[in-house]
Amino acid sequence: MRPTWPLLLMTGLQGLSGGMLVTMALLGLTLGSHALSLGAWSLMSLTSLALVGAGGTSSIFHMHRLAGARLVMRRLRTSWLSREVLTTTLLGLATACTALIPRLFSPAPDWYLPLAIAAASLALVALFVTAMIYATIPAMLSWHSPLTVVTMMGTGLLGGAVWADAEWLLAGPRSPVASAVLAGLLRAALILWSFFKILQFRTFAEARTQIRAETGFGLSRSPHRLLDTGTTRAPYRTQTQVWPPIGRARRHVLQGVLAALGLALFILVGMKTSSALLAAAIAVTPLTYVERWLFFADATHSSLVWFPAPYAEAVQRGERTRA
């Protein structure tokens, strides 16, 4: 299906922001709130606020008719998208409080850590709700799996943790023990994330073989050849979910890029210098976006049974008609 930039930005930035908040809260819980300097708290919480703000702003561009926007929370009972609007708005407010308190009070008040923990819990809920939008659609054969929730939340948490790690060191010196423990934990998280990503790539591959001509056409005799999709042109402009599949070569190149970025990240987070950790934070950002682009572009929708891949690929190559 066609990835759109507001969705890529919105889901990616929300994940990074949520991941930073969760990392901050975990650091505060395990090391005590005074282990982190006020500068470190400020830097992390301001970055988190900027990320969630930019993500929220980009989501506005995903709406094509703003006049209906006042109704977006009308279906809280059934729609994960309605719930996402609610949870991400609350997350934005909580992040704003977390970012403002260290600017207003010095030293930070006693209730700052409980506030950061509440914001982090909200971030986990918001990441879960966003992932459920995608995981609960049976027609999106590649996404209809718990792996969607695990990898989407995992990407955000991992990315946010790498950013928080870099900013903590940039804000001032810290104990070598803390650096070593954090590096080990990040490496373990990266290995776990890679394992679930590989499982997800298998799910995507299975989804490509799941669309059945028998049940899509009521036709038992095979092989089947599509002669005409209903008009001279397939509806790629009006139906984004049947956007031509990306093709094997492109998929493998992007999976290779993802693996290379993952390896670079694995090495960089272990180096424990501020420049290496800054490079890790830079590397985890394209990793997030290659992962997210593949998640959208490589997904298989059930209605592709009426727009089979050879036809779609011919369109993409420009041999048949313009997409």
Partner: protein, 220 residues
């Protein structure tokens, strides 16, 4: 009540009269327009009813199937619960699934949720549109009774399409489905489509290539 359309795949000849009459009526109808992106160049735009043509099996036993595909007005329509604004809804009185354009934000989540790919996005108005079962015709009391049916049903030259209430066991559509093993598409995805198709009758006995060559030699 669940209004629906049953299509007999033995009778459909793929003439696309239903596809064109749908576009013609709905471009002028209450729920229109059904826009084209380049109407005076190469028409490439929205269709609420598409006739998919398919060839099956291998020579010399090939056959062609035409499948008119529009909104299935599903019993458990997955496009409805995902919609954040309530713009997509299923009418309780007659089971027709509709879009309220005034409430739609054009997020297109319903297009992903629909297993059949029958919702299309109007780039100009920024809303999602689809087959309304010609609700503006079937509820228009100023029309003659024979005109109060979907445009596609009325225009079908072979009477392949039948309109009626699937929840009424005595209706023609219910009887056709029950007696002729009517089936819905992609049942594994759980949308419970109300639109059904009547399966094609079994093919006559299979032939091999030599038999065809012999018959051609004898004949010519």
């Amino acid at each position: 009540m669940q209004l629906t359309i049953i299509t007999d795949l033995n009778k459909c000849v793929g003439c696309k009269s239903c596809q064109v009459s749908c576009k013609e009526h709905n471009t002028a109808g209450t729920y229109g327009p059904v826009p084209d992106l380049d109407p005076y160049g190469e028409p490439d735009g929205m269709w609420w009813n598409r006739i998919v043509s398919m060839e099956a099996d291998t020579y010399p036993n090939t056959s062609v199937l035409y499948l008119p595909k529009a909104c299935m007005h599903c019993y458990d329509a997955p496009c409805v619960p995902v919609c954040p604004t309530g713009a997509s809804f299923k009418r309780e009185d007659n089971g027709v699934v509709l879009v309220d354009y005034d409430a739609c934000i054009g997020c297109q989540l319903c297009m992903w949720a629909c297993p059949y790919g029958v919702r299309e996005f109007d780039e100009h108005e920024g809303v999602v549109k689809k087959c309304t079962l010609c609700i503006d015709r079937i509820e228009d009391e100023t029309l003659a009774p024979e005109d109060r049916q979907p445009a596609c049903v009325q225009s079908c030259p072979t009477h392949a399409r039948t309109f009626g209430d699937l929840d009424d066991p005595a209706s023609i559509v219910s009887r056709l489905v029950a007696e002729r093993q009517g089936f819905g598409l992609l049942p594994e995805l759980g949308a419970r489509p109300s639109v059904h198709y009547l399966p094609r009758r079994p093919m006559p006995g299979l032939v091999d290539e030599q038999t065809v060559d012999r018959a051609l030699e004898e004949r010519y």
